[in-house]
């Protein structure tokens, strides 16, 4: 179901893309049941938000409007207990992933299992729409040894210990359960745009092989950050509103990717490395605007913990109530469009942001990407 009518072809493409990103970024090692349950919990949370949050709102309105007898719905307030519980659970983040690999050899074994799994899924024809993606994973993937990448990985870990001190629980967890990197022969960037993959609920991150030193660093830092955010609770976006009521919006993958790439670019530049390109261009520009509006430190904290309370409150104050919520319900292209409009309406000058090195680079990356796609006939 969609919120707005769109061209059916575009619709299908967007839907397929979303599913691809979903599959690629979703837990692979954990049992199917857990994955299913995650989907159920997300749906239940949404239902809960509607029945309670929106239900209360409509009830109050109708009481006012029609002057009817008050309150058969007052008992609903009690229901917030459940949501509060969920919220508090998420606040803790993940102490460590349920599956922990000790070394590269163990992680490489895990890669093998992933290839096998995709092969099986393809045979079962579970996701016909994903045939192209699955074939990338199942055809010729192998783990290769690459000392240079491992060296960069170490360097990145040291870097993050300094750059993420703002959220001590993340740096502590990174030290006690560090991510293990493997280099794979498959081309992640054809499907996930980032050249790598963070296997959720494990400490195993992967990148696709490349010879360019700069791009190795880019991919490794990006995937390291996904893992760091996973430990901090950054995959589960949530906030408390002005009435201190909790809200949860997990699974906004594009937003998470945008923040990941933004943080990647920030940290790389701070350490005098300028990545050759920018991934998830639209999402990253959107995240950059959010960062400019919400503050650098608060945005980094929000990225690493998933707690958007402060950022949301600042942004909604500047751009109007409900703005951040609205953005999260959209896809990146629409979100960026609306965000730009709102910034302009609020009379905030964004010309400096648009001239920033990051946004300029993003535009170049985008042009190059569409040219490459055209040439190779992909999608």
């Amino acid at each position: 179901m969609v919120q707005k009518l769109k061209d059916p072809v575009e619709e299908a493409v967007i839907k397929a893309e979303r599913r691809i990103v979903d599959i690629v970024s979703q837990p692979i090692a954990i049992p199917v049941a857990r994955e299913l349950e995650k989907g159920i919990v997300i749906a239940q949370t949404r239902i809960h938000e509607i029945v309670n949050g929106q239900g209360k709102k409509v009830n109050a309105f109708l009481e006012n409007a029609q002057n009817e007898k008050p309150g058969k719905r007052s008992d609903l307030i009690e229901k917030n207990v459940l949501l509060n519980q969920m919220y508090n659970d998420l606040d803790g983040g993940n102490e460590k992933p349920p599956t922990v690999f000790k070394n590269e050899a163990e992680a490489a074994q895990h890669s093998k299992e992933i290839y096998e799994r995709f092969k099986k899924e393809k045979q079962n024809n579970l996701e016909r729409a994903l045939d192209t993606v699955i074939s990338i994973f199942s055809s010729s993937g192998t783990t290769i040894k690459d000392d240079e990448s491992q060296k960069i990985h170490k360097q990145v870990q040291n870097m993050l210990a300094k750059e993420l001190v703002l959220v001590p629980k993340v740096t502590e967890r990174l030290t006690s359960t560090p991510p293990i990197l493997t280099v794979e022969t498959i081309e992640f960037e054809r499907v996930s745009d980032s050249g790598g993959q963070n296997n959720i609920d494990t400490n195993h991150i992967m990148i696709g092989q490349t010879t360019a030193h700069n791009e190795k660093f880019h991919r490794i830092l990006h995937e390291n950050l996904h893992y760091a955010a996973y430990l901090g609770g950054g995959y589960d976006y949530r906030w408390r509103n002005e009435q201190n009521e909790p809200a949860i919006r997990n699974n906004v993958i594009w937003f998470h990717e945008g923040l990941t790439e933004l943080t990647t670019q920030d940290i790389a530049r701070k350490n005098n490395i300028v990545p050759d390109k920018i991934n998830y261009v639209t999402a990253t520009i959107t995240a950059y605007y959010i960062q400019q509006l919400g503050g650098k430190e608060n945005t980094l904290k929000a990225y690493l913990t998933g707690d958007l309370t402060e950022v949301r409150s600042t942004i909604n104050q500047k751009l109007g109530a409900g703005t951040l919520e609205q953005l999260l319900d959209l896809q990146p292209r629409e979100a960026l469009k609306i965000l730009r409009e709102k910034v302009d309406t609020a009379g905030i000058d964004r010309s400096k942001w648009d001239q920033s090195d990051l946004v300029q680079n993003a535009i170049v990356s985008n042009e190059r990407l569409s040219k490459e796609r055209e040439k190779s006939g992909n999608r």
């Binding site: 969609v2 919120q3 749906a43 239940q44 309105f61 719905r73 229901k79």
Partner: protein
């Protein structure tokens, strides 16, 4: 006579409700899709899936009505009342 402000407010509230329902529908659909795609369906999750299906049906019905129905004030209010009932139905099942 209905005040203009009340009328706008009712429409706004209906639109907002519809947007939220629409995004809940997507979340439910994605959960149901995963469920359908799974060969061995864990028994322990079946009950929760059925609950999702229950809400799903109500949401779709309401959404369709909200999209296609008349936009005059009385109809909007009727649909908001139906939304209230819908919430109650879902809540009753959860008790």
């Amino acid at each position: 006579m209905v005040s203009e402000k009340l009328e706008t407010e009712a429409t706004r509230l209906e639109n907002e409700t519809r947007q939220k329902i629409s995004s809940a529908i997507s979340a439910i659909e994605s959960a149901l899709e995963k469920w359908e795609a799974t060969k061995k369906k864990p028994k322990m999750l079946e009950e929760r899936i059925n609950e999702l299906k229950f809400s799903y049906k109500l949401f779709i019905e309401w959404e369709t009505e909200s999209l296609k129905g008349s936009k005059d004030f009385d109809s909007v209010i009727t649909r908001l009342n139906e939304f209230e009932n819908l919430c109650e139905k879902i809540n009753e099942r959860n008790n």
